[in-house]
Subunit: 356 residues, 2 copies
DNA sequence: TCCGAAGCTGCAACCGGTTGCACGGTAGCC
DNA sequence: GGCTACCGTGCAACCGGTTGCAGCTTCGGA
């Protein structure tokens, strides 16, 4: 803490006014004559004074802080979201507290509760909390969820369904007659969404759809299910996220199964490394998602402070399918979809053999 | 913010004591009779009261918050550090504010200043700030630097030099007669350290050492310098960090140069993906580094609060060399160093041809 | 029995701004 | 000229805990 910072009273004395005038010179300029205001500002500058945030928060009842809670900051899916939220918050004069739930709902609740006491709003990313708990948190401060939909609570979601449909169409067009989806964490909302989207897409194109039960760990989840996939005769795999997909790719490599020659793999999230590894995936502008969420949250905080009634909004951000090496070549004559060229090891040079 | 939380006075009234007694029942239990204390705690529980952090901070002059400032949260090097720091802070009852400097010293200064006003301590990770600025920040709150050494300021550094020496010995043992080091950001402290370590190691083993001037961007920095590397006849490359190393690997693949057959590549940081990609690198227990730094910071805060004089400590954390696929095989008879087996695409199956 | 020490507890001021209300002064209006 | 309206400013209370100091008990020792 600053050792001996000036206070309002110091500034007031120097400017020859009362503390209230100093306070108002900043908070309600229109209430103060231009001349007095000038004197106050000058005195403040001379003493190098800025109002103490804590004291201000205490009376105003608002902290100008928000908290971002994520399941695991090491999961590369989250840092871009956090950065986006951070920058937007900063732009609007808010600071960001960080909470990590370690993928655990109980811990998430604890962390969120603790943080709720010292911020104006909570940004819950990929929350594992039951809707009831989230609604309860909202009694204590504003809440916006990301990658989750809770009735009555504002949220930002990435709309992966259209991309999932395209992915299925791509795979079907390439000759695969069944799609295997490898699930993520059981309590993950987006996992449920993706299962539904893939199933719907398969139904629409009359393709068989198999869903593999979730297991724990990210990379290992993928690697561990490879035997099941091969036993089931899978040739086209969609995975819950990129880490899982990379685990699958690694597991397939362990068994000398070629990707995409024998099995095509598509992940989800477009983590920074994905493009460089040639991993096909579904991505989105994550910085913008984070920023949108923070913006939404701060607007809600402002509205609430203004006494306006609560109103929840749901923002959908479109996703993009990146067809890269692991997805196999597009069917002849099919529409070319987006995706930078694969760029990893020599492998990307060889054009993978199309499935028989 | 909590809508209508109870206050000390409410609790005091219910317990039939004065507000001061309530306050002391929590902060100075030994001053209060067991019986009174019991009544107070019960009343507090009944009203579901916890002391307001803001109000407490205002009088106590401490916030129980620390801030972590990183150059770029999306750089996979930082999330493990942040998580470690976060958990340790949390364990000790501190919350964490997050600042992102976007790799820019001016912005870092601004962010740090802003945060310094609302926390008890600052954790600067891979700070780009001139030492003078850091010392100045320390006038306003406690500071601990990570991955940086500033005289008079506590810090935690990863000791990469021994691993760099080993890496050079490995390469020399494998027959390479020169080592090329690809620099990172010009103002990065750890880059300077690594240049020095590599040069020293080369000198010690009588090997030529070439340092490539830094350029911007991470992955692209690596990719862009490949032509220079090849023109210089490089066969063994050490890179500032893993992202740069991956860029180099990608650039080499673009030109059909085999890794490690024609060129061996070793990175630094052991980012989560490195093991899975078979990238040789220098790693460290980053969670512990973050935790150690947070612990150091909080201890300093406590000591300072106790009125004890400042004392700066420097903690060195040892690093580990992971020799994986891209480093090429160990020379026959050489000591086998650590490193899990490579696990990415079929490539890892083929044993790379040793350099002629 | 009296005195001093020690243990609890309450009073009131304080941390540093903020804000409802009242007051003095000036201007506009009839 | 008197009255009202409004503007600019200060007073004092307040946000919610914390803490120095003093007062009251109780207890031990002389």
């Amino acid at each position: 803490m600053a050792p001996v910072s000036a206070t309002v009273r110091d500034v007031a004395r120097l400017a020859g006014v009362s503390p209230s005038t100093v306070s108002r010179a900043l908070a309600r300029p229109e209430m103060i004559s231009a001349e007095t205001r000038g004197r106050v500002l000058e005195a403040a500058r001379a003493l190098d004074w800025v109002p103490n945030r804590l004291a201000r928060s205490l009376t105003r009842g608002s902290t100008e802080n928000i908290a971002v809670v994520v399941p695991d900051i090491v999961n590369p899916f989250f840092p871009p979201l956090i950065r986006g939220g951070q920058q937007e918050a900063w732009r609007r004069g808010f600071s960001v507290l960080l909470g990590d739930s370690n993928e655990d709902a109980a811990r998430e609740l604890h962390v969120a509760n603790e943080l709720a006491a010292q911020v104006d709003g909570l940004l819950l990313m990929s929350s594992r909390l039951p809707a009831r708990e989230i609604l309860e948190l909202r009694e204590r401060c504003e809440v916006v969820v990301v990658n989750r939909v809770v009735r009555g609570v504002s949220g930002v979601v990435i709309d992966t369904a259209p991309s999932a449909r395209r992915a299925v169409r791509h795979l079907v067009g390439a000759g695969h007659d069944a799609v295997h989806y490898v699930s993520g964490p059981a309590d993950s909302w987006s996992n449920k969404q993706r299962v539904a989207a893939v199933q719907a897409a398969c139904d629409a194109s009359g393709t068989a759809c198999h869903v593999l039960a979730p297991s724990v760990g990210a990379f290992e989840r993928g690697r561990a299910c490879v035997d099941d996939l091969l036993a089931a005769g899978a040739t086209a795999v969609l995975a819950y996220d990129d880490i899982t997909a990379l685990g699958i790719v690694a597991g397939l490599a362990d068994r000398d199964v070629r990707v995409p020659g024998d099995v095509a793999v598509i992940g989800c999230d477009d983590i920074p490394m994905a493009g460089q590894l040639g991993l096909a995936t579904i991505g989105a502008p994550f910085d913008s998602v984070g920023a949108a969420a923070a913006g939404l949250l701060i607007e809600q905080i402002a509205r609430r402070a203004g006494g306006a009634p609560r109103r929840s909004r749901l923002v959908r951000v479109p996703s993009t399918l990146f067809l890269r090496r692991t997805a196999g070549p597009a069917p002849a004559g099919g529409p070319a979809l987006s995706g930078e060229g694969a760029a990893m090891p020599a492998r990307s040079r060889r054009s993978p053999r199309a499935r028989a």
